[in-house]
């Protein structure tokens, strides 16, 4: 299963994503932000990093990159698209996901492991997890504070589109497990079609024992088992 990993100037998790896809049994292929076509692939992933130096707003310049109109078209055809960290910010700027990522409420860049809870396994990104499984994964961001208007938040919650939520190690919310001030402890959401995922934590950095956690791997195996059966 081919998965395109798009590199923007300033991306720094592109090789991590590439490696994670390989480990999960997929076939990653790099794309450069100036390419105009994602090509014949089964999924597209946008990596973390600091595309274009985070100038103007995180993800704002990257979403104007030549490849993005092809990514948007791929998503509109129902193709799976995943944005991690800066990739999530780019997807919000591109309008593929609602809301925006604001400065962390602490004003600090946060680089640490967090716990997130799988809120639904009924998505192509979480089908290999157990319901309400608690994952240990790293975050590394200064702008991860998810914000959207009340109407959007209630639609996301009502439709079960919040798929990862920050929790403490026991899986509880409201006990300081949210590192950045995100509304409703939101760590990851999907679009209305369920084929576009954005998340601030880094599953690709939790795929081998040597990294301290393997809890991110099932996200990749979930996606690969879907693309194996469906094909886009």
């Amino acid at each position: 299963m081919k998965i395109a990993v798009v590199t923007f100037p300033g991306s720094n998790c592109d090789y991590d994503l590439y490696k994670a896809i390989e480990l999960a049994g997929g076939a990653p292929e790099f794309r450069w932000h100036r390419d105009t076509d994602v090509g014949q692939v089964d999924a597209v992933m946008l990596p973390g990093g600091f595309s274009f130096g985070d100038y103007l707003r995180c993800g704002a310049i990257a979403h104007m990159s030549p490849i993005m109109s092809s990514v948007v078209a791929f998503a509109e055809r129902g193709g799976p698209v995943v944005g991690v960290c800066n990739g999530f910010q780019i997807l919000c700027e591109a309008g593929l996901l609602p809301g925006a990522l604001l400065r962390n409420d602490s004003m600090k860049f946060i680089s640490q492991d967090v716990f997130i809870r799988v809120e639904t396994t009924e998505t192509q990104f979480t089908s290999s997890y157990e319901p309400r499984q608690i994952l240990r994964v790293p975050v590394a961001h200064a702008e991860g504070n998810y914000h959207a208007d009340a109407e959007t938040i209630s639609a996301l919650e009502g439709d079960g589109r919040v798929i990862f939520r920050y929790v403490d190690r026991d899986g509880q919310t409201g006990t300081g497990g949210t590192p950045n001030g995100s509304t409703n402890d939101i760590a990851g959401i999907v679009n209305a079609g369920g084929n576009v995922l954005g998340m601030m934590p880094h599953p690709e950095r939790a795929v081998e024992d040597v990294l301290g956690s393997v809890d991110g791997l099932a996200l990749f195996t979930s996606l690969l088992s879907q693309t194996a059966s469906a094909g886009v």
């Binding site: 103007l56 707003r57 704002a60 104007m64 919000c92 700027e93 609602p98 809301g99 925006a100 604001l102 400065r103 962390n104 409420d105 602490s106 004003m107 504070n145 914000h147 959207a148 208007d149 001030g181």
Partner: protein
């Protein structure tokens, strides 16, 4: 055609958490400016461009704000002409 220098101000929406504004507010308070009740931090962007009229210069810049310069989810913007230089006839 005239040349216009446009000033664009992009400001976080009122009521939206603005941690930079909050930090500056605290710093001002510790300097003794205890009458300050709120601080918000935005950015100013200066664009020089050519246009037929002040109206079209403003309209063009507002369009840039909607497409790129401001995030409609979190920011408001306003646009004003800072300077206008008529092209020599």
């Amino acid at each position: 055609m005239s040349s216009y220098s446009i000033e664009i101000r992009v400001i976080p929406r009122p009521g939206l958490l603005d941690p930079a504004g909050k930090a500056i507010h605290h710093a001002l308070q510790s300097l003794g400016y205890d009458t300050v009740s709120d601080v918000r931090v935005g950015k100013a962007i200066y664009v020089d461009l050519e246009a037929d009229s002040p109206e079209s210069a403003i309209a063009l810049t507002e369009n840039m704000c909607q497409k790129l310069l401001a995030n409609p989810v979190t920011e408001d913007f306003n646009v004003r002409i800072a300077d206008e230089v008529e092209a020599p006839a």
